[in-house]
């Protein structure tokens, strides 16, 4: 039974608005903090109920707090996302038309790549084929930094990947725009960029790296869940969230 919206919910929502995305542990701590601040009752097991109360009120405004998995750590995250496109949201972008074009090109590169990433060199080169006002090299670099800072892209050793926030928010868009190219994880059924692929040419299923870790945990001989061929890739370790207890 969901509760009435109270100050604790509002405080949580305001923090979500400022940050965009928060990990599950952070969300738990934040809810506890918000409830305490408003002297509200708090049930640590009912995380999803708390968020559902907020979501019911956000729905008429085409906003939701949605849950999603990080492709790096496999941990769950909560992101505040926008659900509909109207004239207003089109006016709202922090990014100029040509910056958005470059972002779309970056997304093209990432979706079509094998490993779900795009090198800074490739992105800089793609700026040459822009149809809107071309971006200079320095402007492109500056834009990429902004995108990372605003949590749309992640960068590691010169390679750019879509951030968890980006994937959660853009999932419907990506599924529509790239429906032929986009990879889907066989285990969790969400879209997948950083994933392992079955080498059997007749099979070729994809599994997220963290999903691989969880699926094959403790198994002696990993086999493809679809075609039963030997799974040739290195099985990553399951990453536990940072320990709660700190003495």
């Amino acid at each position: 039974m969901s509760r009435q919206m109270g100050d604790s919910h509002r405080r949580f929502l305001q923090t979500m608005m400022a940050n965009g995305i928060v990990d599950e542990q952070g969300a738990r701590k934040l809810i506890a903090h918000c409830c305490e601040a408003s002297n509200a009752q708090h049930n640590p097991d009912k995380l999803d109920d708390f968020i559902e109360t907020i979501n019911l009120k956000l729905q008429p405004m085409f906003m939701q707090i949605t849950k999603g998995m990080s492709e790096d750590s496999g941990h769950q995250f909560y992101a505040l996302v926008n659900m509909a496109e109207t004239d207003v949201t089109r006016m709202s972008s922090d990014y100029a038309d040509n910056e958005l074009e470059l972002f779309r090109k970056t997304m093209d590169l990432i979706v079509c790549s094998e490993k779900g990433n795009a090198s800074s060199t490739d992105i800089l080169n793609s700026a040459d084929t822009m149809t809107t006002k071309k971006l200079k090299k320095s402007e492109t670099e500056h834009l990429l930094n902004r995108l990372v800072h605003d949590k749309w892209l992640n960068e590691k050793r010169g390679e750019y990947t879509l951030s968890t926030r980006c994937i959660i928010e853009m999932e419907p868009y990506i599924r529509t725009m790239y429906q032929d190219q986009v990879k889907v994880c066989h285990i969790c059924r969400n879209i997948a960029f950083q994933c392992q692929i079955c080498e059997n040419p007749a099979c070729g299923i994809k599994i997220h790296n963290p999903c691989v870790a969880r699926y094959y945990k403790g198994r002696a001989e990993p086999r493809c869940p679809a075609c039963d061929d030997f799974w040739p890739h290195e099985i990553p370790e399951v990453r536990r969230p940072k320990s709660q207890s700190r003495k």
Binding site: L13, M61, N82, T86, M91, P172
Partner: protein, 199 residues
């Protein structure tokens, strides 16, 4: 179902409004042609529309406000009517009333009019600040620091201060207006352009 792209195309019309001169007077004209509808007019207007339509329009107004608030730019009534409310202007007061209620109940924010003459609105927080740190670190904006230094100078000088005193103060803090600052870029531009626009 329409899919939303978060960073969808910018409609630069609201940005171009920021330029002074002819654009500003156009805005004033827009606002002057807008007269507040009477209560009976609002009633009649509401009867002609479905609740869903009114809710949708209210939602758009809320989104518009939130977006402007994120950039710390006040909302002009003229902009709001022209770009969002549009043909629903006859029920404008009702939409504003509902939007204010949503801000209050859902977000814990208050919609207030900061300029009664030009009809400009901002959102302020209703919730009190909490003792003790929030578990989530809020993203800090270094420009805030700059802004506060300037505001404190103005405040201490009784509300008005010459440009030169501000540049001098900043220079003492190692922010040289003449040179390009590594964090703020063109300092003079940030102060005279951005901060003034954000009122």
């Amino acid at each position: 179902m329409t899919q939303r792209k978060r960073m969808s195309n910018t409609q630069s019309s609201s940005q171009s409004k920021r330029a002074s001169g002819p654009a500003a007077t156009q805005e004033e004209e827009d606002d002057q042609t807008f007269t507040q509808p009477s209560t009976t007019q609002v009633q009649r207007g509401l009867e002609k529309l479905t609740p869903a339509q009114v809710d949708q329009k209210t939602a758009e107004v809320v989104q518009f406000f939130l977006v402007k608030d994120q950039k710390k730019i006040p909302v002009r009534r003229a902009d709001l009517v022209k770009h969002v409310v549009k043909e629903y202007r006859n029920i404008y007061p009702e939409i504003m009333k509902r939007a204010a209620r949503i801000f209050d109940q859902v977000f814990g924010l208050k919609m207030i009019e900061i300029d009664a003459k030009n009809h400009m609105y901002i959102l302020i927080n209703k919730l009190e600040t909490v003792e003790g740190a929030s578990p989530i670190a809020n993203p800090t904006n270094p420009k805030m620091g700059l802004l506060f230094v300037i505001l404190s100078v103005i405040f201490m000088k009784g509300g008005v201060v010459g440009e030169n005193l501000i540049w001098k103060t900043l220079k003492n803090l190692k922010v040289d207006v003449g040179e390009r600052h590594e964090e703020f870029g063109d300092v003079k531009k940030v102060v005279t352009d951005e901060f003034v626009r954000q009122r």
